[in-house]
């Protein structure tokens, strides 16, 4: 097994689809399922699954892309950090083209001469910091529970090595508080969540107990077509039978208890804080800030920024799209003024954004 091809087998996909249609016939009412992971959003669009599913089954893309949910205030802070003299600003590639106020981007700052670098693993910061002792290295820590332990591990290693010139601008977030908020939204009226597979590797099934508690179904699913369809089918079975629980479809990687070691490392460096989400506003205890013990690694404490007056792009519907109350096709800017080449909002920038997925695969139903 290679854990990829086996989960793309057409015969399995076909029969799972048949079973989903049967379940929907028995349920005999419209059903709304939200996915809160950008990789699910991409998988669903790439495989055109919406076109194969029954009409009354609505798959709603939620706030599953960390780049997209980053508030314009935090984008502006990143731009301000990158503009400080003698700073090397490091981030994951998706952040580079996200517009801040007045459509300024990290990419533009780089073109103007600021030292902005892209990495794919936080560990790369260690060698960049060691090779550039005269520079202040600021890493933008972004991502959910999948990524935050890796950044925590970076800080622990940097601390052990006594690196003085590295700090982290943390905009990390945790996903359950946002799911809870959406679950309580009477407009969305969700029947179930397709829970994020890789976040769940870290937080485990137990973290979603509030979902069945609120009367909705919860299934943690993987990312290949067979995974996504089996996950949807398991949600529908819960809806049909009236049973509500957290089930794990992605059992080859996700355990009920999650990854306690990764969580321990994450919470040895970070502590919960209130965080501002694009489209959702401030959610209590949904962010991760560096704890006092690691304050010397906290970019916000080391380089205090002046007050920034932030403003989102007028007319941009990313906030409503992230909440699941609008689809990309319903945004007047979509494909007209906002494209992957010239994006106005973050959902079109990130390769995992709902608008980028919809644009790329032309299935913006």
């Amino acid at each position: 097994m290679k854990y990829i091809d086996e989960y793309r087998e057409p015969a399995l996909v076909e029969r799972l689809l048949r079973q989903i249609h049967r379940e929907m016939d028995m349920i005999a009412r419209p059903v709304g399922i939200m996915e809160v992971c950008g990789t699910h959003t991409m998988a669903i669009s790439r495989c055109a699954l919406r076109d194969l599913l029954p009409g009354p089954l609505r798959l709603i893309s939620g706030p599953g892309c960390p780049v997209c949910v980053t508030s314009v205030e935090d984008v502006d802070r990143a731009l301000a950090f990158a503009g400080i003299g003698n700073v090397m600003f490091i981030t994951f590639g998706d952040m580079l083209r996200v517009p801040g106020t007045e459509r300024v981007t990290l990419q533009r700052l780089r073109a103007d001469g600021c030292d902005v670098r892209i990495i794919s693993s936080p560990r790369a910061c260690l060698s960049l910091a060691e090779r550039n002792p005269g520079k202040n290295i600021i890493f933008m820590g972004i991502g959910f529970e999948t990524t935050a332990p890796a950044v925590a591990s970076l800080i622990l290693t940097a601390s052990a090595r006594g690196l003085q010139n590295l700090s982290v601008f943390s905009v990390h977030k945790v996903i359950p508080p946002a799911m809870k908020m959406l679950l309580d939204d009477p407009v969305l009226c969700l029947d179930g969540f397709l829970c994020p597979g890789h976040v769940s590797i870290v937080i485990g099934g137990a973290a979603y107990g509030f979902i069945p508690g609120a009367g909705a179904a919860a299934v943690i699913a993987g990312f290949e077509p067979v995974d996504v369809l089996e996950g949807i089918m398991m949600i529908l079975r819960q809806i049909r039978t009236g049973e509500r629980k957290v089930e794990i479809q992605y059992a080859r990687a996700v355990r009920e208890e999650g990854n306690p070691r990764a969580r321990e490392i994450m919470y040895s460096v970070f502590e919960p804080c209130d965080a501002s989400w694009r489209g959702l506003g401030v959610i209590e205890a949904s962010g991760l800030a560096l704890s006092d013990k690691f304050r010397t690694f906290d970019a916000r404490r080391r380089f205090p920024l002046p007050e920034i007056r932030s403003k989102e792009e007028p007319g941009c519907a990313c906030g409503s799209i992230l909440k699941g109350v609008m689809t990309p096709g319903e945004c007047p800017l979509f494909e007209v003024r906002c494209t992957p080449e010239d994006p106005l909002g973050p959902c079109m920038v990130s390769s995992e954004g709902t608008c980028a997925a919809s644009y790329t695969y032309r299935r913006g139903r």
Binding site: G38, G143, T147, S350
Partner: protein, 75 residues
């Protein structure tokens, strides 16, 4: 962003493993893993870190069960 991929461990040097993903080799730090791993194990990797060992037995069992349900026309 939470993209992860399964890779097979081909070598381990201290806390860094080289993993093979369908012919492409990448480095992955093992510091976040809750269990010991050895060469030949599959791990799920994200942002340069292995975040979980893949349970091969359970994966096979679940996939076989799904195929069985289909074979018996239950699905």
């Amino acid at each position: 962003m939470c993209i992860g991929f399964p890779g097979k461990i081909v070598s381990i040097d201290d806390n860094i493993a080289v993993i093979d993903i369908s012919g492409t080799q990448r480095e992955a730090c093992l510091d976040l893993l809750p269990d010991e791993v050895t060469i030949g194990d599959y791990v799920l990797c994200h942002a340069g870190y292995a975040i979980q060992k893949i349970d091969e037995e359970l994966a096979k069992e679940k996939l076989d069960f799904l195929k069985e349900l289909i074979e018996h026309e239950i699905y």
